[in-house]
């Protein structure tokens, strides 16, 4: 009997790593297809941003700057979607721009998805979200300074035409969205140092309120700015996106909009949780096997 035990533990210690790969693959993929519900509790920076946008004066707009590229889409795109849903739910106007050319496609995708979600369920003109009235997609332009400083003076001058080629002056939304004064908060979603540039130029010069959504690895670099109040809250990694999604969903339910929309961040978070647990279980099992076989040797 003891020899079979020893065999198990020794074999466990030298298990073919492909079994680990397989377990991890399944543990991440299955929750993506059949998501289980976990409800992450919002951490302080996430709640801070949500509450600020939620209680923003009605005449102020939310501006989302899509400053990331497709390689970090898994972590950051859910943030863009959640922010759009939030603004449309509480009927705040939205301006969208991209500081990276590759961000244009991502922004467009998010806009298509969220406007479809709202408009396919809309009963009245009031319920639907309309381009040029409720939101605008300015597109991309360069250089960075022109955009960040220029928007403090007159946005239509930085973006004479929008992403779709319409003259921005002709859009009704732009009448009351002249410059940073009409912006309640600007959220830069980025995998680079772009949010810091927004501080250095837009905030230092014009005092616009800022926040950011960034990848998990760069979170440590941005915490100091949240602590100093330069960013009103922050969304860090998939966890941040998932927490925001939960807050938005609760808000929508309160308004009777129980649509059961997919929350990719939350769904990915179930994969994340499962994967983290799996790795921790691996470590525990490895140690049990190690100690059991060592004791037997003694």
């Amino acid at each position: 009997m003891s020899s079979t035990h020893e065999n198990i533990f020794l074999r466990l210690q030298r298990i073919d790593r492909r079994w680990i790969y397989l377990v991890l693959w399944l543990v991440i993929m299955v929750p993506l297809i059949f998501p289980f519900r976990i409800q992450p509790r919002a951490s302080t920076p996430v709640a801070q941003l949500f509450n600020y946008i939620d209680t923003m004066p009605e005449n102020k707009a939310l501006v989302i700057s899509v400053d990331f590229t497709p390689d970090t889409r898994a972590e950051l795109q859910p943030m863009v979607i959640a922010l759009l849903r939030h603004a449309f739910t509480i009927k705040r106007r939205v301006g969208i721009l991209a500081m990276q050319v590759y961000g244009l496609g991502l922004a467009e995708e998010a806009i298509q998805q969220v406007t479809n979600e709202f408009n396919s369920r809309a009963q009245t003109h009031e319920d639907s979200v309309i381009y040029g009235e409720d939101f605008v997609f300015w597109g991309w332009t360069t250089p960075l300074l022109t955009v960040m400083l220029g928007m403090g003076e007159r946005i239509t001058r930085v973006f004479p035409v929008d992403y779709y080629g319409n003259p921005t002056e002709s859009l009704p939304i732009m009448r009351d969205l002249k410059n940073y004064d009409d912006v309640g908060i600007l959220v830069s979603i980025a995998a680079s140092a772009m949010p810091r540039s927004w501080i250095n130029f837009a905030q230092v010069q014009f005092g616009v309120n800022l926040s950011c959504g960034i990848t998990a690895v760069s979170a440590a670099d941005f915490y100091p700015y949240v602590n100093s109040g330069q960013f009103i809250g922050m969304l860090a990694g998939m966890k941040g996106a998932a927490e925001y999604e939960q807050l938005v969903e609760k808000r929508m339910k309160n308004k009777g909009m129980d649509w059961g929309l997919r929350n990719t961040g939350t769904e990915a978070m179930s994969s994340q949780t499962a994967a983290h647990l799996a790795i921790m279980v691996f470590i525990v099992v490895g140690n049990i096997a190690y100690f059991a076989s060592r004791r037997r040797k003694k």
Binding site: Y21, L24, R41, P70, H276, M280, I283, G286, N287
Partner: protein, 221 residues
Amino acid sequence: MKRRLPLLIVLITGIFGAVAFFVPYPAIRAADEIMRNDVQRIIAAFSLVLGVGSIVQHHMLKIQRRAQYYSYSYITIIALIITAIIGVFGGIDVTRPGILPTRFGSFSIHIQTLYSNMMVPLAATMFSLLAFFMASAAYRAFRARNLEATLLLLAAFIVMLGAVPFGRLIHHQLPAFAEWILAVPNTASKRGILFGVELGIFATSLKIILGIERGWLGGGK
């Protein structure tokens, strides 16, 4: 001459590189900018020739010798040539096409299309292998063999727990503790290592400029 001239050049360019940091005078600043933007960049562009020459030669040799798996070497060489032709002649800017047409109806072979649909997925997938490798490395190496190994394991464990919603259920302070580990002991050790590394950079740079470190000359007279 064959050794003296290069050593003299590193001395001069090295002193210039250091001085430019301290002196804001316009002539020095302007020279520094030319050094960075023109000299270094253009020379770097030429050095690629060495690299490309080597990789092509490496695979040609494999084909000549009929080495194991030599047929795959054709793939590298052909892919290199085709990509370079598309890139150099087709233009890099979608809005400014080059002399080579890169669009056939709705199908594009523009270098940016190649980049987004071949380079990006290949790089992202290679990168994502890390998820698996981290798991298997942790399984094998995180064993509580002695105190050091146990601390390594525990620190990793706590930080991982702090990252998922599950951690809060075990103890509500756990995420904060994970952050503390990152902010205090982790910072201390990183900083301690960095001092030595920066001094090493200092020492090596000084040795190169003074001509004491000559490994870069390669062998020979």
